[in-house]
């Protein structure tokens, strides 16, 4: 398909949606005017116009697959025979499954915390410095790299060669220059997860940083200036003024990154493919769904477990939203 055709189709797509909203709304306005502004259903129909496209997309691409997945979790590997709770029983007893849940928990605890923490600290450090924007751009840059690309980048850091050979991984080269033996970082039990998490933290800190930077601007400057004049140290200002002001933002960012981390798959897939006990639920699900013929029953169970994991966060967010509505 030529470039011309492609751009035409893209423009057409955009045009369709813009015109949908424009014309349906003006049509409704017209109708409303014609019935002297007393059209009973005006409000409901307008709501429907607004939410319809997004809702259709949501339904087809999210809701339908979810229902289908729930259904498949009760069927056999080909999706043909009904097997009840067989797949669930298998999951509970499978050691790989338990390992994956542990790993996911590890990821959920460590990555959001550190990303948020680093983002907050760096946002403050870079706030009033003349080269602050440059620093922020550099730290944000990893967000623009795909996860698989990040995998390639970090391969040059973690790579292992034998003790007598030249090291091509940066970490091992540093270790060797201090006289220690090189390590195959990604195969060390337990710690290899931490090394993979480092990659995610490296990426996500940029996100936290950018949001915190914006939030910092909203803190009234007079308060900070006043406390400075009063002689408060920078550290005291940080803990007593800035953090309380940013409490909301901290929680929002922490939640956001948690949700992103719950779906983590690419980094682990690209670096170790779940080997050496690094697999998380998403890797296990991928393995069961697509490897060697596929078992959609077991894969579905794993997908559902991933979704269940988000329910606490979901409820908490809903709660917060309701609170805000009341204000």
């Amino acid at each position: 398909m030529s470039l011309l055709n492609l751009s035409f189709i893209v423009l057409l797509g955009i045009l369709i949606f813009v015109s949908y909203f424009h014309f349906s709304n003006s049509f409704l306005d017209n109708y409303n005017r014609k019935s002297n502004g007393r059209f009973k259903f005006e409000n409901s129909i307008r709501v429907i116009i607004f939410i319809l496209p997004a809702f259709i997309v949501l339904f087809i691409f999210i809701l339908y697959p979810v229902f289908e997945t729930v259904r498949l979790s009760f069927y056999d590997k080909f999706g043909r025979e009904f097997v009840g709770l067989y797949n669930y029983k298998w999951a509970i007893n499978d050691p790989e499954f338990r390992r994956s849940i542990l790993n996911n928990l590890g990821w959920l605890l460590i990555v959001p915390t550190f990303s948020t923490f680093f983002g907050l600290v760096i946002a403050n450090l870079a706030d009033r410095i003349w080269w602050g924007s440059i620093a922020k751009s550099i730290i944000f840059m990893p967000m623009a790299i795909s996860f698989v690309g990040a995998g390639v980048i970090w391969k040059f850091i973690y790579e292992y060669r034998g003790p007598e050979n030249t090291q091509i991984g940066l970490l091992n080269a540093i270790i060797v220059s201090f006289g220690y033996e090189p390590q195959a970082w990604l195969t060390i039990p337990i710690w290899n997860n931490v090394f993979l998490m480092a990659i995610m933290i490296w990426i996500q800190t940029g996100l936290a940083l950018v949001i915190f930077s914006a939030a910092l601007r909203s803190i009234p400057k007079e308060m900070i200036e006043a406390s400075r004049i009063d002689g408060a140290s920078e550290l005291k200002i940080f803990f007593s003024i800035i953090i309380p002001y940013l409490e909301q933002t901290i929680l929002v960012i922490w939640t956001l990154i948690t949700i992103i981390v719950l779906r983590i798959f690419d980094i682990i897939f690209a670096m170790t493919n779940g080997e050496w006990q690094t697999g998380v639920l998403a890797n296990l699900m991928y393995d069961w769904m697509f490897r060697g013929g596929g078992d959609s029953g077991r894969g579905s169970v794993l997908a559902i477990v991933i979704m269940i994991g988000v329910i606490p966060i979901l409820l908490w967010n809903l709660h917060k939203h309701r609170q805000e509505q009341k204000i």
């Binding site: 034998g162 003790p163 007598e164 060697g292 596929g294």
Partner: protein, 435 residues
């Protein structure tokens, strides 16, 4: 008289022409202009460009256009495509086991007796090759569904003749000699072996090749066949014995470049570099015949590197078993263009074109052996056609869940220190789970 001469000339010319069409001449095909055939396979650079050049012969002869796409995670991607009904017209499977899965799902179309007859006639040991591409379709009926194109011999050890000469090493003709040679190399301060199992989502497959070669050298071919079909369980003592032999190579820190820890983390494409470094990081590398494609640019066969047959145990008296594998092309679409494409692949010309590019072997009896890119490959051709026992790569024959799943990951665990028994039990458990 005139008429007679004309008829004579006509007969001579036509038989001459038909001969040339058969005997390595140019492929000619029906007019398929405007038609498009999509092909999906596991080959990435540089084989994908080689393949595109080969199919250009078909494109020029028929006017059809052929589009090839490749993927490193082929085994997973093809399943997605087949389940969704969006698979390419022709699919290049690196494993018959996977193709059998696809056939059972109803994803492949039978190729018909014409093509089957062509394989029986043109391929050395044609019946074996036909058997390897006959699978049960979704109704359970056996159908002939694929054609092997590009095969490789696996029982080979690659080495640098110059380095061997410098050190005064001789090519071992028995396994006992090979082990003695490895010990000699360690004593001299050299490292005998480079082993690398890394391959992205397929990490572990080179270890399965080691296992299969060792199985063929420690037990009779019948045992091998029982092992493949799981008539003999995977945790049988005979399999454990073979795994321990592999361990004697891969788990021995003195034997392997980088120690046993590096085995699973080194990519299989980087591993042979050790043969060419200065100082040399290793002396030998056991790998299939396609590996020269990954040697440093400019390396010349016979000069910078060569191979010798991975020897058998003299004490076991099992002859000279050869392990091999290949890619088979199957069709998901039975339109005229795709079927003609399959026939094209059985013609000598595409085989010879790929042979010239290197890294390509074929059991086709009608190809001109001189078209091989090097003496090495002519040698491989002879090995292929002259083995006392030939067996196909076991992990490619086993069902996908094992052959492209637990067998791979199990071997990685083995190099990480898991016991042979635990690994074998795990793989047997996955066999039981799919029965």
């Amino acid at each position: 008289m005139n008429k007679f001469i004309k008829i004579l000339l006509a007969t001579i010319t036509s038989s001459f022409l038909s001969f040339s069409a058969l005997a390595g001449g140019h492929y000619t095909g029906p007019d398929l202009s405007g038609q498009k055939i999509t092909v999906f396979g596991p080959w990435l650079a540089p084989q994908d460009d080689d393949f595109r050049d080969v199919v250009s012969i078909f494109e020029k002869a028929t006017g059809a256009s052929v589009e090839y796409g490749g993927s490193d995670s082929f085994e997973q991607q093809v399943m997605i495509d087949l389940k969704a009904g969006s698979a390419a017209d022709a699919v290049i499977f690196p494993q018959p086991g996977l193709a059998a899965n696809a056939a059972a799902m109803g994803g492949l179309v039978p190729l018909g007796n014409d093509i089957k007859q062509m394989v029986l006639n043109d391929y050395a040991a044609g019946q074996s090759w036909v058997d390897l591409t006959t699978y049960a379709d979704e109704n359970g009926t056996d159908q002939f569904m694929g054609v092997f194109f590009r095969v490789n011999v696996k029982s080979l050890v690659w080495y640098s003749p110059d380095n061997f000469e410098d050190n005064g090493y001789e090519i071992p003709s028995t396994m006992e000699d090979l082990i003695a040679l490895s010990d000699q190399m360690v004593a001299d301060g050299n490292t005998p072996w480079c082993i690398g199992l890394g391959s992205g989502a397929a990490t572990g497959w080179p270890a399965t090749d080691w296992m299969e070669d060792i199985m063929l050298r420690t037990h009779s071919p019948d045992v091998y066949d029982m092992w493949v079909s799981n008539e003999m369980p995977f945790n049988d003592p005979r399999v454990l014995e073979a795994m321990e032999v592999f361990g004697s190579f891969a788990l021995n820190d003195d034997y392997v470049n980088g120690g046993s820890k590096a085995v699973a983390t080194t990519d299989f494409r980087d591993a042979p570099n050790g043969l060419f470094t200065s100082p040399a990081e290793c002396m030998m590398h056991r790998q299939a015949s396609f590996i020269p494609a990954f040697f440093p640019e400019g390396s010349e066969a016979g000069v910078d590197y060569d191979f010798f047959y991975f020897p058998a145990f003299a004490s076991k008296d099992l002859g000279k078993p050869v392990l091999g594998a290949g890619t088979l092309v199957a069709a998901t679409n039975d339109n005229a263009a795709t079927i003609e494409f399959m026939k094209f692949l059985l013609h000598p010309e595409p085989n010879e074109r790929f042979m010239e590019k290197g890294g390509f072997l074929t059991p086709h009896k009608g190809v001109d052996k001189n078209k091989y890119s090097s003496e090495t490959f002519k040698g491989l051709h002879d090995v292929l056609l002259g083995a006392t026992t030939f067996r196909f790569d076991a992990s490619d024959l086993m069902p996908g869940a094992i052959g492209a799943g637990t067998f791979w990951t199990g071997m990685v665990d083995f190099t990480n220190g898991k016991s042979a028994k635990d690994v074998a039990d795990g793989i047997q458990a996955s066999w039981d789970a799919i029965k």
